[in-house]
């Protein structure tokens, strides 16, 4: 740092506009001090030509004695020495003196001025009272001298003569005259400036316009315009001065550019001379006169001109207090100069420019440091850092040039070069000769020895880095760091170099700049190799070997590095583990079969697609994938669980998140969002409640956001050591050759134990090197399951019909069980469903993929209890299918044999028939019990058969004759032929059943019925109970040679005998031949007992009367359901019938026909009346509907009867107050219907003719 005293004296400060003084020198000398002081005190407004803004300036002047030599000669353009104003001083007050000497002197002065065409003059007449007093009395008034002067010299310009009164006195008059004088002087000075500078500028422009002429010289013009700059500077118009230099700068630049474009100017030749001096900028002097002189002489080199120009600009900028512009311009200048020298093809020795730039940078920095304090400097690092970095750069290349960066030190050739370079620096400038830290000394020292160079270089580098870091230009800082690393590398210090390189690499990787990444990584590889960090080196080599930015040769080299290390077999104990991503990428994984779910022991193949990034094919001794095994308890049940997540069936695609070699931009793109759709369904009705999208890898995405850290790439620094876990299970492939590009490798996966197998890691072993993929993501797993053997029986066609041979299909899924030779299925026989033996029953064996593997004939052996089916040998997880014909016998009716025991001791389950809701057919569940060889337990299977028929029977009577009708309804979808219809009675041999059925074969279509009729004839007595069996043979209609199958239907008829005959007759009213509607007719009902009472009947419901005659009570009821008749009076009543054959009871009832026509007789019901005391004898059946019906009937009918005992007894129910249940069971009189056939109605469906009434115009009027 320079001390303040050293700041150069500013030359131009001394330069003031020249004002000459003629006349009385002693007078002037006496006034000089106050004049020089007072003149700059007040600013003046300077109006400018060419529309330039007016400026306030403080004027100063350099007063010199007038000499003729001072006046510029014709053609002299020097402005600095130009006298702007000429003053003539006089204090003459006496006309004589004036006339004798002063006027003459003035005339001479005026003539001289005029001869030089200078019009800027003023005459100052000083008046003092002293002079007045001391001298003789004034002859002329004192003003007359001034008037005289004015009239003599200032013929039109009266203002050219100024009076100064009593200048040395302190009076108001004196002050006023001073002010007037100063104002006048200033005005005149400005006028002179405007006029003279304007003229000068015009001349200058003219000169500039001539620049296309052949003889024009830039240097000359330079001097002229600089003169103007000087004047502005002198007037402290630094801005204007700077403009002059900038114009010169631009003009010169344009010429150089034109030269580049082929437009050569002659004068430019001098600037194309080889550079011999590269001593750098010199900014400590206001004007570098040496250089200025050389420019003036036209001998300056380009660097000289540029240096000079910049030093002037720098000076002015510092006057303007714009130091940061200096640094910026400096950088531009330095770049520009280097470019211009190149453009002008100036020959420069190697390193000379570097020296010049280096010195210049430091010089500028020193200059700036000289005029700013530390705080300012620190705050404006951003302006200076460029220069620091540039200087660093240049010093480094100088060091390289001079052999100072090599490990061995400079060679003699290097030394020679150094000497040459130093020679060009010349001697140190006198300004800095005492400074210890001058740029000159620094450069000289730096080039003097390796150590000094290192010291200086490091100093500069660190300064630049620190500044970059301070202003947040981290990338720039890293770039400096990288170049420092290169230096360390050259010095043979890889350890320090690596730190910087890693730092830089991190930034390049994180921002995805592939070329810098590759370059930096290559340098790191070099470091690591030198440092002997084998593992890191190999890792980096692997990265580089797969780096597409490198040439194939380079990649092969790095690949070879790995392979040759791998080939060494020195230390078996330690294998180098590297990340696999850099070596090969797992792109795809495919399962065969695609379900990725196999039964235990089956073959599962895993096909990996590895994209090998190496440039050459690599032989891998072993490729292994470690497997994590989970015992999956649910998995044993089979395939229902689809746990493997995959886009394509059985194929997993791996996205390449961070590829090291490929386009790095994709690496920096980071993890892609993994989105999944979620649907929330309401549990009750499965309706969609909400839908959303979730990001599944938030942890990855968010982490990057938070700290902006680079993606965890294995390629940046040494990767975290990935350990290969020695899991129990491995997929292994030995000796694989990986070609560059995609390789397909097939593993056979272990599938011994059922459970879930997850692929965790992948490891490729090449000799001593292992490439490990520490984590396979997305996770890949496959399932091994184990299945129990399963036997199912299902009908071949739906529905299974009972009574006919039906085919059922047996399916055996073997599961883990191997069916051996001799294994057989043991079916327990049931007589309700025999298995029909068939000669050729073939079994089909099919593989899990439903491919037919084999067919073989089954041997079926039936014994009394068991049917044994020998199975063909079948491998596990195959399906065995065969068909058997079974017949389900139709249960014939109500017979229920006792439970039997099956062969295996189980209680036989009776097939139970029930009606099925889906079909009108009655269903029978038929159970089968099968003993399987793989289990000690029997397998129970159920088959549902359907009975195709529904059978109904009915008993028909005609007086005493009895007929039995059977209706067979076909409820199935098939049609049948019914043959050999038979009805037999089992118990009574005397009974003869005569058939009315003529056809032997009957067609029974689907959903149709067939009715059959028999008459029962008997010899002695008709038995009250008949056990009948209906049997028929049937076969499906469309089968030709089918065997008829029997069908049985058992039923029982009770109380067959006819007890009473009821006969009704209707008599027309008296005097009428026919009944007429609306007239009451008589209905006579006669009830006749047909047979003698049997024993049972006597005991059951008879009552011995007092006279010993046995009677029974009957109840009759006349009811007309179709409202044809109106019963007048009693419609029902009680009849006491004697229990004797042919006993008859007649009833007279009045009825009235309501309509005309053939009306059917009203219905007459006869019911058994059971008195209350007889109730104990009968079986109490409180739920009998007969009772309920009859009671309600009683309620209705007995109301209007009034005289029956039942009413009294009913009344007693309440009086006794005993429990209802008991009362009902014991005391209630009841009605019981006769069974079908016990009462024969003679007049059933008889009709009577009713005539209409003669006068039947009846209008029905309803009035409400």
């Amino acid at each position: 740092m320079e001390s303040q005293e050293e700041t150069p004296i500013i030359y131009t400060m001394e330069n003031k506009p020249i004002v000459t003084c003629a006349g009385d020198q002693s007078l002037f000398t006496s006034l000089y001090t106050s004049l020089a002081q007072q003149l700059p005190r007040e600013p003046m407004e300077w109006r400018r030509t060419y529309g330039r803004a007016p400026k306030m300036i403080h004027l100063e002047a350099n007063f010199v004695q007038f000499k003729e030599e001072l006046l510029p000669k014709e053609g002299n353009k020097a402005l600095l020495t130009f006298p702007f104003l000429h003053i003539y001083w006089t204090d003459c007050c006496d006309t004589e003196t004036y006339k004798s000497s002063v006027k003459e002197d003035m005339m001479r002065w005026q003539n001289t001025l005029r001869s030089h065409s200078s019009a800027d003059w003023v005459i100052i007449v000083v008046e003092t009272n002293d002079t007045k007093k001391n001298k003789k009395t004034n002859i002329l008034p004192r003003s007359s001298i001034v008037d005289k002067i004015r009239s003599d010299f200032c013929n039109k310009q009266n203002d050219r003569c100024v009076v100064l009164s009593d200048p040395l006195k302190d009076s108001s008059r004196s002050l006023d005259s001073w002010n007037a004088l100063l104002l006048k002087l200033r005005t005149l000075l400005l006028m002179s400036f405007t006029k003279n500078l304007g003229r000068f500028e015009d001349d200058m422009r003219t000169l500039r316009e001539k620049r296309t002429q052949p003889g024009w010289s830039f240097c000359e013009y330079f001097m002229v315009q600089e003169e103007l700059a000087f004047v502005f500077e002198m007037l402290q118009q630094f801005e204007d001065a700077l403009v002059q230099y900038d114009e010169l700068d631009a003009l010169f630049t344009q010429y150089v550019l034109n030269f580049g474009a082929g437009d050569t100017a002659n004068w430019l030749g001098s600037f194309c001379a080889p550079v011999r001096n590269w001593s750098g900028l010199l900014l400590r002097r206001p004007i570098d006169m040496e250089k200025r002189d050389s420019i003036q002489r036209g001998e300056a080199s380009l660097l000289d001109l540029r240096s000079y120009l910049f030093s002037r600009q720098c000076t002015l900028l510092i006057f303007l207090q714009r130091p940061w512009e200096v640094t910026q311009r400096a950088l531009e200048l330095l770049h520009n100069c280097v470019q211009e020298l190149r453009l002008l093809e100036v020959s420069v020795i190697d390193g000379a420019l570097d020296c010049w730039v280096f010195l210049s940078c430091l010089e500028v920095l020193h200059r700036i440091e000289g005029c700013c304090d530390q705080a300012q400097l620190a705050a404006n690092c951003s302006h200076t850092v460029g220069l620091w970095a540039y200087a660093t750069d240049k010093l480094k290349s100088l060091g390289e040039l001079c052999g100072l960066v090599s490990k061995n030190g400079p060679t003699s050739e290097d030394l020679n070069r150094t000497v040459d370079l130093l020679a060009g620096l010349g001697d140190e400038r006198p300004e800095t000769i005492n400074s210890l830290q001058s740029p000159y000394k620094k450069l000289k020292e730096a080039l003097s020895s390796v150590e000094a160079f290192e010291k200086h270089y490091l100093e500069l580098s660190h300064a630049a880095m620190e500044m970059y870091q301070a202003i947040g230009r981290l990338r720039s800082a890293r770039l400096v760091g990288k170049s420092l690393a290169e230096f360390y590398m050259a010095k043979g210090d890889p350890e320090r170099a690596e730190t910087f390189l890693q730092e830089a690499l991190k930034s390049y990787v994180s921002e995805g700049w592939s070329l810098p990444v590759t370059h930096t990584r290559r340098q790191i590889a070099e470091c690591q190799k030198l440092l002997g960090r084998t593992e890191d080196y190999l890792q980096t080599s692997a990265l580089l070997a797969g780096d597409g930015n490198l040439s194939t040769e380079e990649r092969k080299h790095f690949c070879q590095e790995i392979l040759s290390f791998a080939g060494k077999s020195e230390n078996h104990s330690h294998k180098v583990t590297l990340s696999m991503n850099v070596f090969a990428q797992l792109t795809r994984l495919q399962f065969h079969p695609a379900t990725a779910s196999v039964h235990s022991g089956a073959v599962l193949q895993v096909e990996l697609t590895l994209r090998c990034l190496m440039p050459v094919s690599v032989r891998i001794q072993q490729l292994a994938a470690s497997i994590h095994f989970d015992i999956d308890h649910g998995g044993t049940h089979g395939r229902s669980k689809g746990t493997l997540r995959r886009t394509n069936r059985g194929t997993v695609e791996f996205k390449q998140g961070n590829s090291s070699a490929g386009p790095a931009s994709s690496a920096a793109a980071g993890p892609t969002l993994e989105m999944d759709e979620i649907q929330d369904r309401s549990p009750s009705d499965n309706s969609l409640a909400s839908v959303g999208v979730v990001c599944k890898n938030t942890h990855l995405v968010m982490r990057r956001r938070e700290n902006g850290s680079p993606p965890e790439t294995p390629n940046c620094v040494s990767p975290p050591t990935v350990a290969m876990k020695e899991g129990g299970q491995m997929l292994k492939v030995q000796d694989v050759k990986l070609e560059p590009g995609n390789n397909s490798i097939t593993f056979t996966a272990p599938s011994g134990q059922p459970g879930t197998y997850t692929l965790r890691q992948l490891c490729a072993t090449v000799g001593e090197v292992q490439f490990v993929l520490s984590h396979i993501y997305p996770s890949v797993r496959y399932e091994v399951y184990s299945q129990e053997p399963q036997l199912t029986v299902e009908p071949l066609s739906e529905p299974l019909l009972a009574g006919m041979p039906q085919l059922v299909k047996f399916t055996l899924l073997t599961g883990h069980y191997t069916v051996k030779k001799g294994d057989a299925l043991q079916l327990s026989n049931t007589e309700t469903m025999p298995i029909l033996p068939s000669s050729s029953c073939t079994a089909r064996i099919s593989s899990p993929d439903a491919e037919l593997v084999g067919e073989s004939v089954l041997s079926i052996q039936s014994s009394e209890k068991v049917t044994s089916i020998s199975l063909p040998p079948t491998p596990p997880y195959h399906a065995l299918e065969f068909q058997l014909e079974v017949l389900c016998l139709i249960p014939s009716g109500s017979d229920r044999p006792a439970n039997e025991r099956l062969t295996n001791g189980e209680v036989r389950h009776r097939p139970r028939s029930y009606s099925h809701p889906d079909t009108p057919m009655t269903a029978i569940d038929q159970r089968m019990s099968i003993d399987c060889p793989w289990s000690i337990y029997s397998t129970l299977l159920a088959l549902t058969f359907y009975i195709p028929f529904k059978t109904k029977h009915s008993l028909l009577s005609s007086g005493n004759r009895k007929y039995i009708q059977v209706c067979v309804q076909n409820v199935s979808d098939m049609s049948f032929t019914l043959a050999d219809v038979k009805l037999t009675e089992k118990q009574h041999e005397s009974l003869e059943l005569q058939s009315f059925n003529t056809k032997t074969n009957q067609l029974l279509c689907s959903k149709h019925s067939v009715f059959c009729l028999w008459e029962a004839r008997w010899k002695d007595d008709l038995p009250s109970c008949l056990q009948c069996v209906f049997s028929a043979n049937f076969c499906p209609l469309n089968q030709e040679s089918c065997a008829f199958k029997p069908f049985h239907y058992q039923f029982q008829l009770e109380r067959v005998t006819t007890l009473y005959s009821v006969k009704a007759e209707i008599f027309p009213p008296a005097g009428e031949p026919h009944c007429r509607s609306g007239l009451v007719c008589g209905l006579e009902v006669s009830i006749t007992r047909l047979i003698e009472p049997s024993d049972g009947e006597m005991a059951e419901d008879s009552k011995t009367d007092t006279d010993g005659l046995k009677t029974t009570k009957l109840m009759y009821e006349v009811a007309d359901s179709s409202s044809n008749w109106a019963v007048c009076g009693k419609s029902s009543g009680m009849v006491v019938m004697p229990l004797k054959a042919n006993a008859t009871h007649k009833l007279q009832i009045e009825v009235m026909p309501l309509f005309a026509g053939h009306l059917p007789f009203p219905k007459i019901k006869v019911l058994k009346y059971l008195p209350h005391n007889a109730a104990a004898a009968i079986q109490p059946d409180p739920d009998s509907c007969v009772e309920n019906d009859s009671l309600s009937l009683l309620d209705k009918t007995l109301d209007d009867q009034g005289d029956t005992a039942s009413i009294r007894s009913r009344g007693s129910i309440h009086s006794v107050g005993s429990s209802d249940q008991q009362q009902r069971g014991v005391a209630m009189p009841r009605l019981e219907a006769f069974s079908q056939g016990q009462v024969f109605n003679n007049s059933h469906s008889q009709q009577v003719l009713v005539l209409p009434t003669a006068d039947d115009h009846i209008m029905e009027v309803n009035a409400t």
């Binding site: 550019l257 580049g260 950088l331 531009e332 330095l334 770049h335 280097v338 470019q339 190149r342 453009l343 951003s382 460029g386 540039y390 970059y468 202003i471 947040g472 230009r473 981290l474 990338r475 720039s476 770039l479 390049y508 994180s510 921002e511 995805g512 700049w513 070329l515 810098p516 370059h519 386009p663 790095a664 931009s665 994709s666 920096a668 793109a669 980071g670 990057r704 902006g708």
Partner: protein, 144 residues
């Protein structure tokens, strides 16, 4: 001598400065040139952050000369979504004035907008668009 041209941009969503597109002619000095562009990001960021946030809307997209080096001139342009464009021109190429550079950037920006409008383009992926490439090539030929 041909100019070097580079376009580079960070993803809008990730504030990282990875290149979307880099092209350079001639290619032999590509490495140095990548380093230059990468370093220029410092200045781009400095310039962008120097502009007050409130003024960000009216911000001039063209950043002008980022910094000169001995060999190149580096110009910058930042879109409102902070996508950065950088053009590097050889220092010796004097035919390119500020205005030409500015219009080149504008052209690039338009073309880049077209690329982004392509529904098949995934923002953040390297730009492989032929149309964009064509525009860039056209400019490189024109300025050489």
């Amino acid at each position: 001598m041909l100019p070097f041209t580079v376009y580079f941009s960070p993803d809008v969503f990730f504030p990282q400065n990875y290149p979307l597109y880099i092209r350079s002619v001639p290619s032999q000095n590509e490495l140095k040139f990548h380093y230059t562009v990468h370093t220029s990001l410092d200045v781009v960021e400095e310039k962008v952050s120097a502009v007050g946030k409130s003024l960000a809307d009216q911000r001039e997209l063209y950043l002008g000369l980022l910094y000169p080096t001995e060999d190149y001139k580096v110009y910058g342009y930042v879109t409102n979504s902070k996508v950065k464009f950088v053009i590097v021109v050889d220092s010796s190429n004097t035919s390119l004035r500020d205005n030409e550079i500015r219009s080149m950037f504008r052209k690039l920006h338009n073309s880049f907008t077209d690329v982004m409008c392509n529904p098949f383009y995934n923002p953040g992926d390297p730009i492989l668009s032929k149309a964009f490439n064509g525009i860039v090539s056209g400019m490189m030929v024109q300025t050489s």
